[in-house]
């Protein structure tokens, strides 16, 4: 699990990248499997997912672990 001290964006950086419209974690988690499989075709939605990944270290970590877990076995 990621240590907060090693990947914690500053509050100011979070404020600078805050938008009026953002996906929340529940919606991100609903869509993440489809996103990984390339099933999200709406560019705006893809962009919102990428932005949430940037804003939320927890969902970002979840995505990273999920991608690693689903990597094909070598050989």
């Amino acid at each position: 699990m990621t240590d907060k001290q090693s990947s914690h964006p500053s509050l100011r950086r979070l404020l600078e990248t805050t938008r009026d419209e953002e996906l929340d974690c529940d919606r991100f988690q609903e869509l993440v499997a489809s996103w990984i499989d390339g099933g999200i075709t709406d560019p705006k939605l893809r962009e919102l997912l990428a932005h949430h990944q940037q804003q939320c270290p927890e969902c970002s970590e979840e995505l990273e672990i999920l991608r690693r877990a689903l990597e094909p076995d070598a050989g």
Binding site: L11, A33, S34, I36, D37, C56, I65, L66, A69
Partner: protein, 190 residues
């Protein structure tokens, strides 16, 4: 290897023997996938417990699977979410909100000046609601949103929305301060 569509049909179907076989295959898949994703973070005993609970969660949510992704990706996402939730709960179960708030680090990885940090602190005190203030400081102190949500009895998404509203308020507050000072943060600080 079981094809997704066959797997779902067996899990949803009336044939008890086929359901049992599909459940066992799914359990093996989840165990392998979680072991690969988490590596040493999950001890063997934890891996068994978390696999079992993930399997139950997949079964419980089967009707919600809308075939917008592969079934395996969807099931793995449920397992990873549950495992992370459990790891974070264990890690923070003995950390109080007050302790997290005391650890709140407003500068993060960036080198903020003392004046910047003071202004942010002032914004948190003046612009936010009590709930927003507690949540943003606890989050900055390292408390996972998932854990804040568990303690509040709400979803992680609800905590994210609370923090999103807090960030928007705080940003507006700082913009007003900057505008009043003639357009530069340095002038606010001086």
């Amino acid at each position: 290897m079981t094809i997704d569509r066959d797997w779902i049909a067996a899990l949803r179907g009336p044939d008890q023997a086929a359901r049992t076989r599909a459940g066992a295959d799914l359990r093996d898949f989840l165990r392998r996938t979680l072991a690969k994703g988490f590596g040493r973070q999950l001890a063997d005993a934890d891996l068994e417990d978390i696999t079992q609970e993930s399997l139950l969660r997949v079964h419980r949510n089967l009707d919600a699977f809308a075939e917008q992704s592969r079934f395996t990706t969807w099931a793995a996402a449920i397992g990873v979410n549950h495992a992370l939730s459990e790891l974070r709960r264990r890690r923070y179960q003995h950390v109080s909100l007050e302790e997290a708030i005391e650890q709140a680090d407003l500068s993060g990885d960036d080198d903020e000046s003392e004046a910047d940090v003071a202004l942010l602190r002032q914004g948190i005190a003046e612009a936010l609601t009590d709930r927003q203030r507690v949540a943003i400081q606890a989050a900055l102190g390292g408390m996972p949103l998932m854990e804040l949500a568990r303690r509040e009895g709400v979803s992680q998404g609800a905590v994210y929305k609370l923090l999103h509203d807090a960030r928007r308020r705080l940003r507006s507050y700082l913009e007003v301060k900057v505008n009043r000072a003639g357009g530069s943060l340095q002038e606010v600080e001086s």
